[in-house]
Symmetry: C2
Subunit: 592 residues, 2 copies
């Protein structure tokens, strides 16, 4: 049997071979003996259990599978250890910072055999061709990487939505499980932009991934009525309950952006049916991956938070598979399912000792036995910073209206490291330019379109970012095709953006005209191609230089790039202006 | 909004209208106030709850839905009563005996808003055109009737399997949820006949409905590995557990063929995750329907057997919807789902007071408010008994081999009213004919092909049927295109078959050349077009006449027509000969 496709369909011959192994009439390729099994269907621990594998599939799971062992069968004696299904991360972002090839070994060591990734990042800068290039990079990996289509809720009207033809071509692909996270404000504020894609996705029989942070009861109902089938944004048990009651699959986010599991775990006390509760990362940073804080750690933490071990394992296996309608393929150790199996010491100790994916042993004796496949991205995917000239400091000047003594300005106020508010401040209109005022905590911020209308720039002010000197810029600005730059000085802002033009993307810190730290991200201007340890070192260096310049956020790069995002309240910036997510309207800098 | 399709897809405009009702910006068509809700997702009882309905869909479910009431909104005050989702019968046979139009009112009164029916019955006698005619009869009914495609496991090689083209055309239809019950012996004994259909169904993303009565552990694993996704055959908790562990959805059968719920309910004691346990009828007889023993009764009985009310309700709603991947459409009272809602007095009293399907009130104040739509079946569907001449008594004679003194004969022995054994008995070969011997409990039995090779007949012997005089025949013989007839006398066998030729199908009792009782079944030779009370009276009359002639089975018609079936062990008969289901091989009458 040869299977290169992401979700292999069994042929008639495959089925026949599986049946013969199940019947003990043909030898298995791989047989596991003397195990316990976490049966995620019944929530039981079964013992003793053996598993017979043929090609990428499981043929039989039963007490005695000795009759499936032949001369060429690889036999693993589990010696009383416990089998669980390969873990699934049902919501993450694999086009961000590190390459898939660099990510894969860490996922394997974590017992993860299936990942569902968003693909929204390349779309604004590289279009459908970019998404297809990203999808190509997910193929033929030792683990299974599935994806969702970008729904493109964006504060930039230029980056908003996905064309019906592009969506149709994506939904036709087997590895595309549905429409990716579609922030609720999009469909509520602009139903005519987003509902056609919702209807198109529902017709395809695939899922609409939701994102309903902060939605009120009525708005949440409207969002569910439109078809949103999941949410990974709740931060407490009450928000989880509200969504579960509507039939949403709720993903408890425990990753590098937020860690909500401990707070949400209080939901245990209510004695609910938790079949629709899921564990997901929403993205694991290189540092977290290297520190081994991925899905095995998350399941272990769920057990530590009081979920029964079997419930915790269901939340990262069967429940995820059912949400995506993949439970006929994966999410359990059972006949006819893909042979994705992890051996752990015991049900309460989520420490992978052997990891099997698609029938192949890819982790054993503490060593990852399979490499992530490196994908050669296209020239177009690697050339997305299309600025035709270097930026000048004057490109970031702010002209005040003629004739006024003072001007009232919309300032982005950092309320937390991610949440912002719209603050109105008066400035004297001395001369014609507004400048940063680091002493009052006010920096300049600009969004520079790097792809669609290269060089189109909007410059505003931000308070509370903390930067006291120089500038910091990144091309991986959320949900847009922008470079976002924050600076105390127009010269350094230009310096930073120009360095990104040279690098074709990345993150950079400049001060007094010098580049102090940088993380090159040549793929879509979003992802590095370096090995994971190099990226971690670059990020630490980057963070150190920003911290020295007064920025105290835990992940200053994340704080920077989310400033263009359409998901986190309230006042955001893009190349078109400021947008308050409360109503999604584009605003000018001056309050008139 | 107008929706006539079985599973309506929401258009962009539908979604927009739903959202507006959810937001309280547009009035609902129907609003339910002051209710409790059985939330099948979380397994909670929510209170207070209101539901706002727009067209066939639910727009909002929340404590206060008063803002959705406008001048044209129909308002139902639930006055503290309890809402549950419309019940689903996930496995039944609607082409058998009574018409869909006659069935529908009883389903409605029982709180059933969705039914999944097999379509195997018409296929052997009317082919794909017959199945399509049956499917047409399911359309535009007040409740939703979905179906599965026939897999045609049959003991007759002429009736075996479905063509890839026919299956493809059925799988492309929205109301076809998968491949219908495919008895495990078929795919195990003849993988090359059935696996192509399995592979075809899996490629379509639909389900393969299973039937694994009596399968051993290895055979069950082989069956699951081939893709069987359900089973409705377990008769005790142990058999249920074995199948749940393999990831099968197990349907607890509680209907007119068997009632296994009480025995199976012992599974409660094990504290399992029961998300894959389902309640289904596998067919409700006219008498049971009239006596109100359909799905409301079944759910009530599950509660009586000790399942918690919420668990019992999940087993007839969400669990079924999830199995068929319809949970985005139905199976729960939630925004975006079809407005299929039943009002009951309280969570433990499954006595429908109001039934709403597709947003319409179809049962209230003890009255069914919607009629089943009568379908005009085609001429071809109504002319399936293609015998070109009347049968003669000599058509049922059994010639013994020349030159032998005694012959050893394979006799069908009735072990229970449905299960048979293969018994070998010696008979003197006096003259050239074997005759029935009522005194020893031996009757003649014949299978007469009525469609494919009209008149092709195989005659054998049966012991223990109990008939002491006359003959009984029926054209609704399982899994074949046969008329099956049991008699003590060749004249009456011919009389019975010939009467069925005149009637174009049905069931008949003859004695001494006279027709004593009959149930006409002109549609495919399988279903009546009479009103339900008429059918019940005819069946009671039929049973009375058979009982008077010594047959003491609880449902003698069922005992008769299953004698050609491929599902119930062991020795069966068709126009080609005898078949022992142990190996599926066609056998002659004489043991040589």
């Amino acid at each position: 049997m040869r299977h290169t496709s992401v979700l292999p369909q069994k042929s008639h011959a495959d089925m026949r071979a599986l049946m013969q192994v199940a019947l003990g009439e043909e030898q298995a390729d791989l047989t596991i003996l003397n195990a316990k099994l976490v049966n995620v269907y019944t929530a039981e621990l079964q013992e003793p259990i053996g598993v017979a594998v043929k090609g990428p599939w499981i043929a039989r799971v039963s007490a005695d599978v000795g009759d499936t062992i032949g001369a060429e069968t690889r036999v693993i004696d589990a010696a009383g250890r416990t089998l669980i299904p390969g873990l699934i991360d049902g919501h993450t972002h694999l086009s961000w910072i590190c390459s898939v090839a660099a990510f894969v070994p860490y996922a394997i060591a974590s017992g993860v055999t299936t990942v569902v990734t968003e693909t929204l990042e390349p779309y604004p800068v590289a279009g459908i061709a970019g998404v297809l290039d990203l999808l190509a990079s997910l193929q033929d990996q030792p683990i299974r990487i599935l994806a969702t289509a970008p729904s493109m809720v964006s504060i930039s009207t230029a980056a908003r939505g996905i064309s019906p033809a592009a969506l149709e071509s994506l939904l036709a692909r087997e590895e595309i499980l549905g429409l990716g996270e579609s922030y609720w404000q999009g469909v509520l504020q602009e139903p005519d932009v987003y509902l056609p894609a919702y209807a198109q996705t529902q017709r395809s029989g695939k899922v609409i991934e939701g994102h309903s942070a902060g939605a009120s009861e009525k708005k949440l109902a409207a969002y569910a009525a439109a078809g949103a089938s999941s949410c990974h944004e709740p931060i407490n048990a009450e928000q989880v309950l509200t969504r579960l009651r509507l039939g949403m699959h709720v993903m408890v986010r425990e990753g590098s952006i937020r860690r909500d599991l401990e707070e949400i775990s209080k939901i245990r006390e209510r004695g609910l049916d938790l079949r629709r509760l899921i564990l997901a990362s929403d993205g694991a940073s290189p540092e977290d991956l290297v520190r081994r804080r991925y899905m095995d750690h998350v399941v272990q933490k769920a057990i530590g938070c009081g979920f029964s071990p079997v419930t915790a394992i269901q939340m990262a296996t069967l429940n995820v598979a059912e949400h995506f309608r993949l439970d006929g393929f994966l999410g359990a150790v059972a006949p006819g399912r893909l042979a994705d199996v992890v051996i752990i010491p015991d049900v309460a100790t989520i420490a992978p000792e052997v990891v099997i994916a698609k029938g192949r042993v890819i982790f054993e004796n503490g060593r990852v036995l399979a490499e992530g496949r490196r994908h050669l991205f296209s020239e177009a995917s690697r050339n997305t910073v299309k600025l035709t000239r270097d930026q000048a400091p004057s490109d970031f000047s702010i002209r005040t209206p003629a004739g006024s003594r003072t001007v009232r300005v919309r300032v982005i106020e950092m309320v937390t490291d991610l949440v912002t508010a719209e603050r109105h401040m008066d400035f004297p209109a001395e001369g014609s330019d507004l400048r940063a005022d680091p002493a009052r905590g006010i920096c300049k911020i600009a969004a520079v379109d790097r792809t669609r209308s290269p060089g189109k720039t909007f410059t505003g002010l931000i308070q509370g970012f903390g930067l006291t000197s120089g500038a910091v810029a990144c091309s991986a600005a959320w949900d847009t095709s922008d470079i976002v730059v924050v600076g105390t000085d127009e010269n350094d802002m230009a310096c930073a953006v120009n360095r990104l033009r040279t690098l074709q993307g990345g993150a950079v810190v400049c001060d007094k005209g010098r580049v102090l730290a940088e993380i090159p991200m040549p793929v879509f201007g979003i992802a590095s191609e370096s090995p994971m340890p190099t990226i971690v070192a670059q990020m630490q260096d980057f963070t150190r230089h920003i911290a020295r310049r007064g920025v105290s956020f835990p992940d200053p790069l994340l704080s920077l790039i989310t400033l263009t995002g359409a998901a986190i309240p309230y006042l955001r910036i893009c190349e078109e202006g400021l947008v308050n997510l409360k109503d999604g309207k584009t605003l000018g800098l001056f309050v008139t």
